[in-house]
């Protein structure tokens, strides 16, 4: 027991810890812990009042037990009692226990708040700091309610000690993050901004975190911080290493604060004031210059501190993206780091260069480092660094180097770490598609991809290759040949079988002339894989077989034989059985003409955003990819090298469909779907668009059918009508659903147009501002919307605004539709969107006590008044996020109502002109299963149902 004897007095604690450490087994440890827990519990329950010291000791033991991963379900009360002790050490341990162990839903919060209130008004700076720490660490809503008014006052008061100011700033930040509605900065704004000028650097350090967060949310109100931040930065950057004394770290003046200042500036565009901008550019140049100076110390801390500032400066330069000179210097600097012996610097350089690659000024400069980056991908020992290298290769890829980069990534994929394979596959697939000049290269690449990393090829990737092959007739023969060859391999990935089945089913005739790939050979090859495949693949193969019967009548008897055998026609899987039965019947009763019509080649897929790109975005999160992808959009529009754009030029009939960007999900099973829906409308009604869905969609589909449809066959008509109709609901819901819990944001965006929305609601009235932004450099003509007349000309880069007033007459489920038409470069663009007006926008929050709540809950007990849904969490289950969403819904979030603190309970009244509809809501998260149960009760059954539908998509 080395440290025990010299400890600070809590001998019992030290003995206990030593005991635990000496336990030979997990069981012994648990036994010892349980013994201790029982002991503490009896002590706490016992009649004898414990003195402060013993309480402190026991609380410490509980903390230690908690650290070992055991739940602590008592002791909270004793910890709260310690808070009101006037001994510093007892108070301190009490606060520590609460910060670590009390969650924001605890019932004790009221007691804790009382103790905090006392300490805040004690004028003892140490006690005040302890209390502020506790608020910042727990940060619950009750605490925000109790202290959000008080803390700004402490922060800006002239007589507050510096250390208290620091704590107050961060405390306020925490409260702002958890309950932004309660922290009203208004009158404090300018005084808070001026903390940037504070003499005490510690105060500035703390305040700048607060200001950065506030600026991100309310950029306009905090605009003045830009010039203050620039002058502060300039003073630090130009100071000698001795000026700032304690804040100089290994010869670098105030590195942490410099980083934070540079981060703050990244919330704003470049300063408009010339003098401020000049000063800032000077700072950035100084920072870049300093990087070239010989180091003042050999210690790694010196270079870390210096480079931390440098990387932030580069991030700011990239953010501004307006100073070509600085951008190129930044790129050169990062180029040096790419070969640095410090792994950390190589990692960060690769990361920053990724964002630099998307700037048009530095894209070329970044490309010069391609060999180094490829080398990094091959030789780096660290998977994190290799991952960054792969990201950078992806970002720097363009027409000129696509083949090289794709080849390198493919060859790396063979040895790549499992953790990054799926992402690599997506990236290769996207690059291959985007920069394909000749589509045989594209097909080769994707088939290689499936061969090398079949397990990691997601559905989207192989859907996409099929979409492209279907739409490009110049590559179909090649694709059929290649896929036929690939299927010859004895062990072939299932994804390859899927692609093979689909392509041979559609285009097998293109290679049937060669006796080595005659129809029967093709069929036997496919069928040899059949028994090794999963059900969905088998279903797809069956569809390929029926297509074969149409393509090659000579295979009919063989295939019918296969369909007729018991393992198909009596398959225990309903889907397979049904297909076998239906196809068999179809092939025997239908005449060749009917067969040819039904099984005609698939019509081209409407162009749309690549499904793989969407998948990558989803995988990386919106923040991670957006910068790069946006840029891709820009470049593509400009250079007309992208596949989408080519398509628009060469096939005018596609344009309407492409402007909709709301096309059917082109899964290859649609092949099956299209023909069964035509021939057996009732048999598969659950998977085909139902007639009612069609009716609903017709309104939005009308402009599509009005446009000339090139293909004339009956089947295509059925398909093209059902397709967009089903999808307008599908795809647009995406943007629409994002607005259920918020009122402002971007509703829709494609390469041409962005539609932003701002809205506000009061009782049963609302007002909505719509902003239509032309993202191209060409003017839109004949611009019109169904809402209100607007100026028919929208200049390139310009924005048009529309205001509409909304009144809710009675409850409703369907959102109003917005139809937009305009001409871009001669082509008519047509767009249907749901306006994000949902019934919950007319909520009035209602506060009520637990008693009232349950009384009303019971009153609404008829089965039709309740709607319930159990669903899987789509987002991380963060309590604070959940709260924010529920508040965004418009209801009041009621605390202390549900006996289980994990659950959320809300109440509100929907105001319509006709009536008021009360609603009660209960959301029960289950963190372990990552599931939610949502229950809604409302005086009106349709409202409960609708709200349940809307909300179940939100979490």
């Amino acid at each position: 027991m080395p440290a025990v004897s010299k400890g600070d007095g809590m001998r019992g604690l030290a003995v206990f810890i030593s005991d635990i450490r000496n336990c030979k087994s997990k069981e012994a440890e648990i036994k010892r812990i349980n013994k201790e827990l029982a002991n503490i519990r009896s002590k706490f329950k016992g009649d004898k009042a414990l003195d402060g010291y013993s309480k402190k000791k026991y609380v410490c033991k509980l903390l230690f037990i908690f650290l070992l991963g055991h739940d602590i379900d008592f002791g909270h009360m004793e910890a709260v009692n310690l808070l009101s002790s006037n001994k510093y050490t007892e108070k301190q341990i009490g606060y520590l226990f609460i910060s670590v162990l009390v969650n924001s839903n605890s019932e004790l919060i009221r007691l804790i708040n009382n103790a905090i209130k006392n300490d805040l008004s004690s004028r003892n700076p140490t006690f005040m700091c302890l209390a502020l720490h506790c608020i910042a660490n727990v940060g619950s809503r009750e605490m925000a309610e109790a202290f959000a008014g008080e803390i700004p006052r402490i922060l800006v008061a002239g007589d507050t000690m510096d250390s208290v100011k620091q704590s107050a700033a961060l405390c306020l930040l925490r409260l702002y993050k958890t309950s932004p509605d309660l922290v009203l900065m208004g009158e404090w704004t300018s005084r808070v901004v001026h903390l940037l000028n504070d003499q005490h650097m510690g105060v500035v350090t703390a305040a700048i975190s607060l200001i950065t967060c506030l600026s991100q949310k309310n950029p306009d109100e905090f605009k003045t911080c830009v010039s203050l931040a620039v002058s502060r930065l300039s003073r630090i950057v130009s100071s000698a290493s001795t000026d700032l004394q304690d804040y100089t770290y290994y010869f670098v003046p105030a590195p942490w604060l410099s980083c934070k200042l540079l981060r703050l500036l990244q919330c704003y565009p470049p300063p408009e004031d010339g003098a401020v901008k000049g000063r800032l550019v000077e700072c950035l140049e100084t920072i870049l210059n300093k990087a070239q100076e010989p180091p003042k110390s050999k210690k790694v801390q010196h270079s870390n501190a210096k480079n931390a500032i440098l990387f932030e400066a580069i991030a700011l330069i990239i953010h501004y993206d307006s100073e070509p000179n600085l951008l190129v210097r930044a790129c050169n600097q990062l180029g040096q780091f790419l070969q640095h012996r410090e792994t950390n610097l190589r990692y960060l350089a690769l990361e920053s260069m990724c964002t630099l690659a998307s700037s048009e000024f530095s894209h070329e400069a970044v490309k010069t480092h391609i060999e180094t980056v490829i080398n990094a991908l091959k030789t780096e020992r660290d998977v994190s660094v290799r991952q960054r290298a792969a990201d950078l290769l992806y970002a720097m890829c363009d027409r000129s180097n696509a083949k090289q980069i794709v080849a390198e990534m493919l060859s790396y994929l063979e040895t790549a770490d499992y953790s990054i394979r799926e992402e690599m596959v997506l990236k290769v697939a996207i690059l291959a598609e985007k920069y394909a000049v000749d589509y045989s290269w594209y097909v080769d690449t994707i088939l290689n991809l499936i061969r090398i990393a079949g397990d990691y090829v997601s559905e989207e990737v192989w859907y996409r290759v099929i979409q492209i092959v279907i739409n490009r007739d110049d590559v179909q023969g090649y694709a059929a040949k290649t896929v036929f060859e690939a299927l010859q391999a004895p062990a072939c990935h299932e994804n390859m079988v899927k692609v093979g089945g689909y392509i041979l089913g559609e285009f097998g005739n293109l290679i049937a002339g060669d006796p080595r790939s005659s129809p029967l050979v093709q069929f036997n090859l496919l069928h040899s894989k059949f028994h090794l495949c999963s059900v969905p693949t088998r279903a797809l193969l069956l569809s390929a077989y029926i297509k074969f019967i149409n393509l090659f009548p000579e295979t009919k008897s063989t295939i019918q034989e296969v369909l007729r055998c018991d393992s198909q026609i009596r398959n225990s899987d309903v889907e397979l059985q049904q297909r076998a039965v239906e196809y068999l019947k179809l092939s025997s009763i239908a005449s060749t003409d009917v067969l040819a019509t039904v099984l005609e080649e698939m019509p081209p897929f409407p162009e749309r955003e690549s499904s793989i790109l969407a998948k990558l975005k989803k995988k990386k999160g919106p923040g991670a990819v957006s910068a790069g992808e946006l840029e891709e959009g820009k470049r593509e529009g400009g250079e007309v090298n992208g596949w989408e754009v080519n398509q628009q030029k060469s096939e005018p009939s596609q344009e309407n469909a492409s402007s909709l960007t709301t096309s059917p999900s082109p899964t290859p099973t649609a092949m099956h779907l299209s023909l069964t829906s035509f021939f057996f409308p009732s048999s598969l009604s659950q998977s085909t668009p139902s007639p009612s869905a069609d009716l609903l969609g017709l309104r939005s589909a009308a402009p599509v059918s009005a446009a000339p449809v090139s293909a004339g066959s009956l089947l295509v008509d059925v398909f093209s009508e059902a397709g967009p109709a089903a999808s307008t609901a599908g795809v647009n819901d995406d943007g629409f659903l994002r607005f259920v819990c918020k009122n402002n944001g971007v509703l829709f965006e494609n390469q041409l147009l962005q539609i932003g929305i701002k809205s506000e609601y009061r009782q049963n009235l609302g007002r909505m501002y719509l902003f239509y932004g032309n993202k191209t450099s060409v003017q839109f003509v004949s611009f019109s919307t169904t809402l209100k007349p607007v100026d028919p000309l929208v200049e390139g880069g310009a924005q048009v605004q529309q205001v509409i007033n909304i009144e809710c007459l009675s409850d409703f489920s369907d959102a109003p539709l917005l139809n937009i038409k305009f001409r871009y470069g001669g082509a008519l663009q047509n767009l249907s969107l749901k306006l994000p007006v949902t019934i919950n926008k007319f909520f009035q929050p209602t506060e009520m006590s637990s008693h009232d709540f349950f009384q009303r809950w019971k009153q609404l007990s008829q089965p039709q008044q309740e709607a319930q849904k159990i669903f899987k969490a789509n987002h991380p289950m963060d309590t604070e996020v959940l709260k924010a969403k529920l508040l965004g819904l418009g209801t009041a979030l009621l605390d202390n109502v549900d006996p289980n603190p994990e659950n959320f309970v809300c109440a509100g009244v929907i105001q319509t002109k006709a009536q008021q509809i009360g609603c009660l809501l209960r959301l029960e998260p289950n963190a372990q299963a990552q599931m939610y149960r949502l229950t809604l009760r409302s005086s009106k059954d349709t409202v409960a149902k609708r709200l349940c539908e809307l909300l179940s998509e939100q979490f």
Partner: protein
């Protein structure tokens, strides 16, 4: 924002955990395990940053860590923090301060696992002077050490009277143990009012 600070040893035993965002207890333990799993399989001379696990925050989330002797110091941060800045923070403020404070007490010569275990509360207090609610409060080492020293002084001035009876009791209880607390100074009733001037 710093979402969590985790310190565990080479075997994954947690030595200090501090979450600045609420996670249920069992999820906290899962995060610790996941983080240990991610960090421990890495060589010592690779880079100090890695993409975080899936549990805390998805893509906008990094682990920045250092490995000293038997301990891993891991900061789980989102993208608003400077990687190198945090790395220095671990270096200076957590480790050196600790060493510094403890050498003042003439207890230890070097930061080691045992210090963390037996002075868990102390480590928490030091940390509180550096990070608050997930944001960095102070980076100046002298300032931090000053605060910690002030705390120690207050503790000493209180310790004399209140702790004495309890110590005496525990000393009697533990008679069979070889080591008995040495400084039982019951006579010291000189309780100092915490001096406020050093602020």
């Amino acid at each position: 924002m710093i979402k969590a600070i985790l310190i565990f040893n080479n075997h994954g035993k947690p030595r200090l955990i501090r979450f600045y965002q609420y996670f249920a207890e069992d999820l906290q333990q899962q995060i610790i395990r996941e983080t240990f799993h991610l960090v421990s399989k890495r060589d010592d001379n690779v880079c100090n940053f890695l993409e975080g696990g899936s549990l805390i925050g998805g893509s906008d989330y990094k682990l920045i860590y250092r490995h000293y002797a038997t301990l891993y110091f891991v900061f789980c941060v989102d993208s608003s923090e400077s990687e190198l800045g945090i790395l220095d923070l671990i270096q200076v403020n957590i480790i050196q301060t600790h060493v510094f404070v403890e050498t003042l007490d003439k207890c230890f010569e070097n930061v080691c696992e045992l210090d963390l275990i037996f002075h868990m509360d102390k480590v928490h207090y030091i940390l509180q002077e550096v990070v608050m609610g997930g944001m960095v409060l102070e980076t100046n080492m002298n300032e931090i050490v000053g605060q910690v020293e002030l705390q120690n002084r207050m503790e000493k001035s209180e310790g004399g009277l209140s702790a004495a009876p309890a110590r005496a009791v525990s000393a009697v209880k533990n008679m069979n143990l070889p080591e008995i607390p040495r400084n039982i100074n019951i006579g010291d009733i000189n309780i100092k009012v915490p001096s406020l001037s050093p602020f």
